[in-house]
């Protein structure tokens, strides 16, 4: 969490936290594990009423941010959702909303944004392709020109909330460049197959494009010129992902530390053992650092700062490495119960692990940093 939240942001955080604790406590999350969609549409709409789909959307389409810095406001929701491993395509839907708000035509914005803001429709980004890495230059799916429009044939996977989304933002190759398309879920020739997932309530699907025909009006931004948009989307996605992971780790650290005081062995609380205390000191350091780097990345992306790409990758590589490290340490602290289905810690570990590997693993981001800081230009 940012140490400099405004009073409004602080009270919004409390509202969101209370809402989630009441509507989707961990017991409900466990029940939703057996639900096909993994989240409840009615609950999503109530959340949308609180503002969690409107932060990145302009006023004329029903959007509103608290502070004027919508991404920083949305980060608060992501963190609170992390603290309760909440269901719902927060990142996916807001990512599409943000892309449409930033690059969409008036017609695209009018068609999509109001229903996203109201919570009636959810959307997602179809970026990944099976067997390929996340980097845009590795994408192979092609949108071929046909008349004034395009035809897509192939597959995208995994796509978050791929079976649940009403709209997709599809990134595809057109000739030498990248283009993006807004595709409704009921488009002719498009089908989604559910996948299995590590996170109990976050759903993924494989999208099959069987000669899906798209008009020119479906193009978001410029044909062949989407690389910068994709970069921006990745940055927004990573900021929300890192914020959520911070919330996850925060909560695990909190309940594990509490447990150290409650659990006795050899007549002493576990919290009194130096061997364990020192591990908590390390964890506290990693935790504060994770929050610090997540905040720096969020502020940079919000401000479209020049170094946003590096800061985002730094945050992802650091948090990706340390979040699961902290949680696994906490599993160890819980002893045998830590590796049971019954204990909640695995719900958190699942979310953090899933986040660690989506939108680039820590080492992939380190490689990205190496390129961004100019290592390619150095020859000796």
């Amino acid at each position: 969490m940012d140490v400099d939240l405004t009073e409004d942001q602080e009270s919004f955080r409390e509202t969101v936290g209370k809402f989630l604790a009441a509507e989707v406590p961990l017991g409900t999350v466990r029940e939703l594990a057996h639900d096909t969609a993994g989240f409840d549409r009615a609950c999503w709409r109530r959340g949308a009423n609180l503002g969690w789909t409107s932060m990145l959307v302009p006023k004329e389409y029903g959007g509103a941010s608290l502070s004027g810095e919508g991404l920083l406001d949305l980060v608060i929701v992501a963190e609170e959702m992390g603290r309760l491993v909440s269901p719902g395509p927060l990142l996916a839907t807001n990512l599409v909303a943000s892309a449409v708000a930033e690059r969409g035509t008036a017609a695209q914005q009018a068609a999509l944004l109001p229903s996203i803001v109201s919570g009636d429709r959810v959307a997602t980004w179809a970026l990944y392709e099976a067997g390929r890495r996340w980097q845009p230059d590795e994408l192979q799916l092609e949108a071929r020109s046909k008349g004034d429009g395009f035809v897509i044939r192939g597959e995208k996977s995994p796509v978050e909330a791929g079976c649940e989304a009403d709209h997709y933002l599809v990134t595809a190759r057109t000739g030498d460049g990248l283009s993006q398309f807004l595709v409704p879920a009921d488009a002719q020739g498009l089908s989604a197959t559910p996948m299995e997932s590590l996170d109990l309530v976050r759903r993924y699907a494989a999208l099959h494009f069987d000669d899906v025909e798209l008009s020119a009006a479906a193009v978001l931004g410029e044909v062949g010129g989407a690389a910068a948009d994709v970069e921006r989307q990745l940055q927004v996605a990573l900021v929300l992902q890192c914020a959520e992971t911070c919330g996850v780790v925060d909560r695990v650290f909190e309940f594990t530390l509490e447990y150290m005081f409650d659990r006795f062995s050899f007549g002493r609380p576990l919290a009194s053992y130096q061997a364990l205390k020192h591990r908590f000191a390390d964890m506290k350091m990693w935790l504060e650092a994770s929050h610090a780097t997540a905040t720096a990345a969020a502020r940079a992306v919000q401000a479209r700062a020049e170094d946003a790409a590096v800061l985002v990758s730094a945050a992802k590589s650091y948090i990706g490495d340390h979040a699961t490290r902290i949680i696994q340490e906490c599993v160890q602290m819980h002893g045998g119960m830590g590796v049971t289905w019954e204990h909640d810690v695995h719900l958190y570990l699942r979310r953090a692990t899933s986040n660690q590997v989506h939108y680039g693993t820590p080492s992939e981001h380190r490689e990205r940093i190496a390129a961004l800081i100019g290592m390619d230009e150095e020859r000796e």
Binding site: S272, H278, K284, M285, V310, R366, A370
Partner: protein, 419 residues
């Protein structure tokens, strides 16, 4: 905390002025991670000159009150200055410990007379200080002070020895932690004295470090006479002063001190030392090396981001005042990791080299690696502080708690060996 006057100049205007002044007046920094480890007397003289330049330019002691030669500005001005100062060679060794640790402690505990006498001279670069805490018999147990100060009329007579004081050979004054009462538990009989180093009975010896450096010193006090007016804080209540001093040390070393200009931004991106080593090793294309260079880059960023966060959180009371230990721990862990990375990138060049090879220092750097985890309090002590003071986990059992110090078992003074 001393409330600064409301400044006339905005932070932005100040920052621009600082930028222009630095460009005009201060030398550019060089990353010295792998270069000479010895500071030596010329460097100390250069430190004094650089500090004097800052003072004359109106940029010394930004957060020290104007009454004592400072600028009386809020912390935001210091932070703005830090951003500008990152590429310049600032008098780091005067910043820490003279200003950041000892100046801050005198400001907190000193009498009006002491503040008037000592702070302006520090800010002008005229008097360099060291802190005399550790003793050969004490290790991490700082309160087990054996250096004896006995009151005789209007002086304390001091005898004993202190160790691990960096740069004492070049210093003018020491803040010396002594024992004045042996009949009470260890924390209750301590007195902090201001000791002039150039006087009869004080002997300073330089210790040769594993890298061949001679920066650490050991001092011997043989019936040194210190005026009673040189007590900082109260007699027998010196542990309060020491705790304050240690907090200033953690803030200074960790990067959250308002009294320090030169250490906040250890990261001189985009080129970290690791990047420079990769260039020197011709391995910027090696995927393994790229991972390490990026990791070093991330460590630099994260250290800086965490320093800012923790300082802010402590200021707002969201984190314990002891949270500076988090930054000390991180600085130490990162230092160790950077040393490992340097060794890995340098490869065989770390172990055998031609004169002048730019990777030659990597091996030496590694040999002294643990210094990062020992200096300014071992990482084990930082972890104790974090777990006990920040996370409020139970304190360690201590056999000397509540026991008069003279009855506590302690180590015998080790024999001095020939060097």
């Amino acid at each position: 905390m001393i409330e600064p006057d409301v400044p006339v100049e905005s932070v932005e205007a100040f920052q621009l002025r600082a930028r222009a002044w630095l460009a005009e007046n201060m030398p550019r920094a060089v990353d010295t991670e792998l270069s000479a480890v010895d500071i030596d007397i010329e460097r100390w003289q250069r430190e004094r000159r650089l500090q004097r330049k800052l003072y004359d330019g109106g940029f010394a002691g930004l957060c020290f009150p104007t009454a004592y030669g400072g600028q009386g500005l809020p912390y935001t001005y210091q932070q703005a200055f830090d951003q500008e100062a990152v590429d310049y060679d600032l008098p780091f060794y005067i910043d820490v410990p003279t200003l950041g640790i000892i100046g801050a402690t005198i400001l907190e505990f000193g009498t009006e007379e002491q503040k008037q006498r000592y702070l302006p001279a520090m800010l002008r670069g005229e008097e360099i200080w060291v802190q005399m805490l550790s003793e050969p018999t004490g290790g991490s147990d700082l309160a087990s002070v054996m250096t004896r100060a006995t009151r005789q009329d209007d002086v304390f007579v001091v005898s004993g020895s202190k160790i691990w004081t960096s740069g004492c050979y070049a210093a003018d004054y020491g803040l010396c932690v002594t024992r004045t009462n042996w009949d009470v538990p260890k924390h209750d009989g301590i007195t902090v004295l201001i000791v002039k180093l150039d006087q009869p009975g004080v002997t300073v010896e330089r210790i040769v470090g594993v890298r061949g450096d001679r920066e650490f010193c050991q001092e011997f006090f043989n019936e040194v006479r210190v005026p009673v007016g040189n007590v900082l804080g109260d007699v027998d209540a010196g542990w309060t002063v020491v705790r304050g001093l240690l907090a200033h040390e953690r803030d200074s070393m960790g990067g959250s001190s308002r009294y320090v200009s030169s250490i906040k931004m250890p990261f001189r991106g985009p080129r970290t030392a690791a990047f420079e080593h990769a260039i020197a090793a011709g391995s910027t294309r090696d995927p393994r090396v790229r991972q390490l260079v990026a990791e070093a880059h991330v460590m630099g960023l994260v250290q800086q981001q965490t320093s800012e966060r923790v300082a802010r959180a402590m200021e707002k009371g969201q984190l314990s005042p002891h949270a500076g230990a988090l930054l000390r721990l991180m600085g130490a862990r990162h230092g160790v990791r950077r040393s490992d990375i340097a060794l890995e990138i340098a490869g065989v060049s770390a172990a055998s080299w031609q004169p002048g090879d730019s990777l030659a220092g990597a091996g030496q750097f590694f040999i002294g690696r643990q210094g990062a985890e020992l200096g300014g309090g071992s990482t084990e002590m930082q972890r104790n502080i974090i777990s006990e003071r920040v996370l409020e986990m139970p304190r360690e059992v201590a056999a000397d708690r509540g026991v008069p110090f003279k009855e506590v078992r302690h180590n015998a003074m080790p024999m001095r060996r020939g060097r």
